[in-house]
């Protein structure tokens, strides 16, 4: 079955000053599917992830060449509102980073900064987002307590709820479970399966087993290059490229 292309990179190069971190990346991100980016440290997978909502713009001296599109529109076009881009392409980071506010206000934050003033609507969206993040039942009696009192796994799902509250199209996840215990990791992975029904998800992970478990497509990066991308099943059973095979079987050197 053909999937709609939600985001696409075409001949993308990325530079930190004079250092070229990404080389000629061409990759389609399919809608309502999970794409995993794997590869050793420094391979460019997180850099690529941060290109997708222009988070790298915040780093001085960086430069992009080539094209990145969201629903066919170039995200680097002069008329693109970066704040709106980041609303549509949300992000969840490695370490849970709730604001030092209540559970409710953490989720409401994105709506408030986007100018929403209707408290009834905000309350409705907060509950919906917490339910979508499979957290509501655990925090419904603590909505007005500090988010910092939640466990690490709950905090990470709160950050996911916060990302979902502004109704993004795409959710970027940068090693979202690497700081969590196995049970909390399992909950995040189950959540990813649920979320892909309504969102497009791109996940960077160092755990190849996690990539195998949660993703539909896998892209293997090495030294700033996209070496191979294919269905996750194909990558983990019969990859085409020797470097991919060596990496995922631990024969890398």
């Amino acid at each position: 079955m053909a999937h709609k292309i939600k985001m696409a990179a075409r001949n993308l190069d990325f530079y930190y000053g004079s250092f070229k971190a990404l080389h000629d990346i061409t990759l389609d991100i399919q809608e309502n599917r999970v794409t995993a980016l794997i590869g050793p440290s420094g391979c460019g997978k997180s850099t690529f992830l941060r290109c997708l909502n222009r988070m790298n713009d915040l780093i001085p001296g960086t430069r992009v060449e080539g094209e990145l599109t969201l629903d066919g529109g170039n995200i680097h076009a002069p008329d693109v509102d970066v704040v709106e881009l980041r609303r549509r392409v949300g992000m969840v980071f490695q370490k849970p980073n709730p604001f030092p506010k209540t559970v409710f206000e953490n989720v409401a934050y994105g709506l408030r900064v986007n100018g929403v003033r209707d408290n009834a609507f905000i309350a409705q969206q907060v509950e919906k987002s917490l339910r979508d993040a499979a957290l509501f039942d655990e925090v419904k009696d603590r909505l007005h307590d500090s988010a910092l009192g939640l466990s690490g796994g709950q905090q990470q799902r709160l950050c996911i709820a916060r990302a979902l509250a502004v109704a993004p199209d795409v959710v970027l996840m940068d090693e979202p479970a690497s700081a969590l215990d196995p049970i909390a990791t399992q909950k995040i992975e189950e959540l990813v399966h649920e979320l892909k029904k309504r969102f497009t998800i791109i996940i960077v992970t160092h755990s190849m087993q996690q990539a195998a478990r949660v993703s539909d497509m896998t892209a293997f990066f090495y030294m700033g290059k996209l070496i191979e991308t294919d269905n996750t099943e194909t990558i983990f059973t019969r990859p085409s490229n020797k470097q991919t095979e060596d990496y995922i079987t631990g024969r890398f050197g």
């Binding site: 983990f236 059973t237 019969r238 095979e245 890398f252």
Partner: protein, 225 residues
């Protein structure tokens, strides 16, 4: 640098043990055929007795695979080596069983006077042995082309088995067919059936090699290759 050298050493050990099991199954076939040819009941009994070692290896290698799958979570070529290996274990154990069935014929025929092996049965024995040798060589070398050749040989084995049965029917239809001759013929047909099955197992082993090398299953022609 191999980041999983411990696991890969275990995989090598698994392959070594699998080849050892293959060697025992291959020897069982060779000895069963020699015993059949020479009416050597002592050798036939040895084949029957040695089957326990093949069965024991099947259990041992099954546990080995289960442990590697559970603890090492292999992927790609490593995964295919284990899954393909598990399929081979089953086939090798059955090669041992079928060799045992051939050896049993020798015991049953012991009271009859020796007679030459029928030509088609002899040819069947030769072809099946060749198939098994090539299947095991293909596995050892990771040679998918040789494995494909083994798969192609399988059709000829079935034809030879039909010829053995036709010869047997011709023998039985003769007015001069004695009860002893009938008994011998029945055991020869049973031996031919066992040999044909060994040919099937050799083809399965070859298919497993193709799966390990290329990651495609050609069983029942379900995937083009």
């Amino acid at each position: 640098m191999d980041g999983r050298s411990h696991f890969h050493a275990e995989l090598e050990l698994f392959t070594d043990k699998l080849l050892h099991m293959a060697g025992l199954a291959r020897a069982a076939l060779a000895d069963a055929l020699r015993a059949f040819h020479d009416r050597d009941t002592a050798l036939a009994r040895a084949v029957i007795d040695r089957d326990a070692a093949i069965n024991q290896l099947e259990c041992e290698l099954d546990d080995f695979c289960l442990r590697l799958l559970a603890l090492e979570q292999p992927v790609a070529l490593d995964l295919r080596r284990i899954v393909g290996g598990m399929r081979m274990i089953i086939d090798l154990e059955r090669v041992g069983d079928e060799a045992l069935h051939v050896a049993e014929r020798v015991i049953f025929l012991a009271h009859l006077p020796p007679s030459p092996m029928p030509a088609h049965l002899e040819e069947l024995a030769f072809r099946v042995t060749e198939m098994l040798d090539k299947a095991l060589a293909a596995f050892k070398a990771g040679d998918a082309a040789l494995a494909q050749e083994v798969c192609r040989m399988d059709g000829g084995i079935g034809d030879l088995n039909v010829l053995v049965i036709k010869d047997a029917l011709g023998q039985v239809e003769q007015a001069s067919c004695s009860p002893q001759s009938l008994e011998r013929t029945i055991h020869e047909v049973i031996a031919a059936r066992s040999l044909e099955r060994i040919g099937d197992k050799a083809a399965n082993i070859a298919e497993a090699t193709i799966f390990i090398v290329h990651g495609v299953s050609i069983k029942h022609h379900c995937r083009p290759f």
